[in-house]
């Protein structure tokens, strides 16, 4: 009898031993050997693992993942499941929310990387952010990115281009600017010309593009081929910071500030002339990268949580909810006191499954971050792959990391197995 049972079990046992048991044991052994497998190094790899910066970041990130992603997915899944029960067309909505599950993680990663590109021309998220911003009037300056020519007594003070020294009426203040593209200069612009001599209550000058197309000319001087910049607002600011006079430049870049008193003024071209506009958020930078990857994970797995919870929901006894409503409980009470506790077993299974899944997260973290923020996004599974195969060629350290991952996953595995066993018993 025992032999027959063994005979039937044999194929499964052989597979299990060959594909699960042996690799685990070999990994444990390998983790005590050096990079090339030649020398026994004892616990060295484990020590390296916890002292090395990049592994430490990986472990820290894994903690963040475990704390955030499973909770967020389960909560969202629960919300979707409960709310979608109450509307028409719920199947259609469920289908849409579940759909990301059908996309491979790798492809989802590529999609998210594209969406969160920094350049508004490439990334849809920043395109939206910039569009909203410009709808409220940002970024419509005539000469974005312009700078004063250096060493001519002008400064760029946080976008405001101004004369360094304050001047009295009757003087001329010129503004040779650079960094404006020839295509950005309006068609109405003409050859730059020197301003007329200022009378006693005036300050005059010229604002021009101090670049000759094709090169040539003397820096800071009005030469042939240099165009005036029309339509630039020019302010005369007195010592107290109030604007004493304001005007705009003409086609040749000339301006005349009239009606000035005897004090001295600083001449400033306000930042509104040169505002480059809002450039969007650097989503894929080191600071935000983990948040973006977790978001993409939630996008995929919330659907899974929703489907699991919805199936649990359909199995619970509706009469309890009805009874609670009859007793005068509001919907929130019904949800928090009746529905949620009844769903608890399902919620725990979903939650624990997600924890296991999140601990092993690899593909999204491998695909989404650009090289510069890869270290900031690192997790254990990616670190394991990088040190063993991705160029590090240190399979000793890689094995040690794999064992760490296994140990971290074990508790949740045990909880899940117990759970299943209890369910079968009951």
């Amino acid at each position: 009898m025992f032999l027959i049972a063994l005979g039937f079990l044999a194929p499964a046992l052989v597979l299990l031993a060959g594909l699960v048991l042996y690799p685990i044991l070999y990994t444990v052994v390998r983790s005590f050997f050096s990079a090339d497998g030649g020398a026994f190094v004892g616990w060295d790899n484990y020590v390296t693992m916890f002292t090395n910066d990049s592994t430490f970041t990986a472990i820290r990130n894994n903690v963040i993942w475990v704390l955030v992603a499973p909770v967020a997915c389960t909560v969202l899944g629960l919300l979707f499941a409960v709310l979608l029960e109450k509307i028409k067309w719920s199947t259609a909505f469920k289908l849409i929310i579940f759909m990301p599950m059908a996309i491979s993680m790798l492809a989802a990663g590529v999609i998210f990387r594209g969406m969160f590109q920094e350049s508004p021309n490439l990334g849809v998220v920043n395109a939206a952010v910039v569009a909203v911003n410009s709808a409220f009037g940002g970024g419509d300056a005539a000469y974005p990115g312009a700078n004063p020519r250096t060493d001519v007594g002008l400064i760029n003070d946080g976008g405001v281009i101004a004369s360094e020294a304050a001047v009295g009426a009757g003087t001329e203040v010129n503004f040779p600017l650079v960094g404006v593209r020839a295509d950005n200069v309006p068609a109405s612009a003409a050859q730059a010309e020197s301003a007329d001599t200022a009378s006693a209550d005036q300050i005059t000058g010229t604002v021009w593009l101090d670049v000759v197309i094709g090169g040539g000319g003397t820096n800071g001087q009005i030469d042939d081929g240099k165009t005036g910049l029309p339509g630039i607002r020019v302010d005369a600011v007195d010592a107290s910071g109030t604007i004493a006079a304001t005007t705009e430049t003409d086609a040749a870049g000339r301006y005349v500030l009239a009606g000035l008193g005897t004090e001295t003024y600083r001449i400033a071209l306000p930042a509104s002339n040169f505002d480059e506009g809002y450039q969007g958020v650097s989503w894929l930078s080191s600071g935000l990268i983990t948040a973006v990857i977790i978001l993409s994970y939630i996008w995929i797995w919330a659907g899974f949580a929703m489907v699991m919870i919805a199936s649990g929901l359909s199995a619970i006894d509706r009469s309890l909810q009805e009874a609670a409503r009859m007793d005068g409980a509001n919907e929130w009470k019904v949800f928090s006191r009746i529905t949620a506790p009844l769903l608890a077993p399902v919620l725990i299974v979903v939650f624990v499954t997600l924890i296991i899944n999140v601990l092993k997260i690899f593909d999204l973290v491998y695909v989404i971050p650009p090289g510069a923020s890869k270290p900031a996004a690192n997790v254990i599974a990616v670190e394991m792959w990088t040190v063993s195969f991705g160029g590090g060629s240190n399979q000793g350290l890689g094995s040690a990391l794999a064992i760490l991952l296994l140990i971290l996953v074990l508790p949740s595995m045990i909880i899940n197995v117990r759970k299943f066993r209890q369910e079968r018993k009951s």
Partner: protein, 435 residues
């Protein structure tokens, strides 16, 4: 080393190359022009990584040898598995007569294992006559000369958008300071001076290698490559300081470098709406530009040599393929001599795709001005060195997100911390160079 080949292959052009390699991986060609030379009846086996057009061109070179010698030469492509294929063949006792290797380290290893035949006196004389000392040294392992460099690549080329340079009045610079001045002219005209794609670290390590080779010279370069001097050496400080004069200048470098892939940075310079005027990388940029299709190499996409830093003599960082022989017979020796002669390279050069390190190849034969210029820069260089990150352990020089690559990305983002960067490089190197 291998990983470096791989990352380069992410460029679409080379991606197609990979496909071609897998498809043509085991194909072999026989050219049967039975001449009447002294080796009639002998059969030689030659292996290299080349397939497709490169294979056809190389077979034409071999055919020229057949005609001259009377021997029959069979060509086999081993794709990008040089080490494994040759290892298996050597173990089985049937190595090819001659193989082309792309990694100097593989040549060193095969030589150390006693698998390679040293060059005969005649072949060695042919190399001495036709090549500069850098190439002789590169073909030498442990004091014995084994290799004849047949193909080379130039990673000291600075590509620029001639339209933007012209309208800004900028021109090819004389040296590093002039280079910064020209970039400033471009920046004045409203475009970024230079675009850097630092999504991964390898373009940045190439930057460093060029500046270091120029400021420290070939000998120090070799010592640093072998980690005989630490990365905290003052010579590294000099090179990083020079780099910082450019990388730390926000007016010249297009912002957002850390999130830009290398092909994207090429598009920023040569695409439909260019935002920057210059990009640094090797001669393969020509392929990226052609793929992009908005600029034409040789017309508005031109290059100049990596500018000389601190008055250094012309120096080139690059790569190449070296011919080594496994058998000690007269026909093999004749083939090695032939490969060292300008006649061999001159068969392929007019077809395009070959930059020959051979000084005596007639540069008038190059099919266009750009490839001639690349070749002249290569043979005219006083110092030539192999790409350092390809020679260091891959844990240091070839791992995305770690070591040399990542530390250079951090240095690009904060070029003020030279000492910290050197310490980080030294720590990474110390961990990677374990014997």
């Amino acid at each position: 080393m291998r990983s470096t080949t791989h990352h380069r292959l992410f460029t679409p052009l080379a991606g197609a190359g990979i496909l071609a390699l897998t498809l043509a991986g085991c194909s072999s060609g026989t050219t049967d022009a039975a001449g009447s030379g002294e080796f009639t009846g002998d059969t030689l086996e030659v292996s290299a990584a080349w397939s497709g057009a490169e294979q056809a061109n190389f077979e034409a070179v071999l055919a020229a040898f057949e005609e001259q010698s009377g021997a029959t030469v069979n060509y086999t492509s081993f794709g990008d598995n040089a080490a494994t294929t040759l290892g298996t063949q050597i173990e089985g006792g049937s190595p090819p007569n001659v193989a082309m290797l792309a990694q100097p380290a593989l040549m060193d290893q095969l030589a150390a294992d006693g698998n390679l035949q040293p060059l005969s006196e005649a072949a060695s004389a042919a190399v001495a006559e036709n090549y500069s000392q850098s190439w002789v040294d590169l073909g030498t392992s442990d004091g014995t000369q084994y290799g004849v460099w047949f193909k080379a690549s130039n990673k000291s080329t600075m590509w620029y958008n001639a339209d933007l340079y012209d309208s800004a009045g900028a021109a090819a610079p004389a040296d590093w300071d002039d280079f910064l001045a020209q970039l400033q002219l471009v920046a004045d005209s409203g475009y970024a001076g230079i675009s850097i794609g630092a999504d991964v670290g390898w373009p940045l390590t190439d930057w460093f290698e060029n500046v270091y080779l120029q400021t420290a010279g070939g000998e120090m370069y070799d010592q640093l490559t072998n980690h005989e001097i630490p990365w905290t050496d003052p010579s590294v400080t000099v090179a990083l300081d020079a780099l910082a004069t450019l990388w730390g200048n926000d007016a010249l470098v297009q912002s957002g470098a850390a999130q830009r892939t290398f092909p994207e940075s090429v598009t920023e310079v040569f695409g439909a709406a260019p935002q920057a005027a210059t990009i640094y990388e090797g001669d393969f940029v020509a392929g990226n530009i052609t793929d992009d299709g908005n600029s034409v190499v040789g017309e508005n996409a031109l290059f100049f040599d990596f500018p000389s830093v601190n008055g250094s003599a012309p120096a080139v960082v690059g790569g190449g393929d070296v011919a080594v022989s496994f058998t000690d017979d007269a026909a093999t020796d004749a083939l090695m001599q032939f490969l060292a002669s300008p006649e061999a390279a001159e068969v392929w050069v007019p077809e395009g795709g070959l930059t020959s390190p051979n000084n005596n190849v007639d540069t008038a034969l190059y099919p266009d001005e750009t490839s001639r210029q690349i070749a002249e820069a290569l043979t005219g260089a006083e110092t030539f060195r192999f790409d350092m990150s390809d020679l260091t352990p891959s844990a240091f020089g070839g791992t995305p997100g770690q070591g040399f690559w990542q530390i250079m990305i951090q240095f690009l983002q904060d070029p003020s911390d030279v000492a910290g960067t050197q310490q980080a490089l030294e720590d990474a190197a110390a961990a990677a160079y374990v014997d």
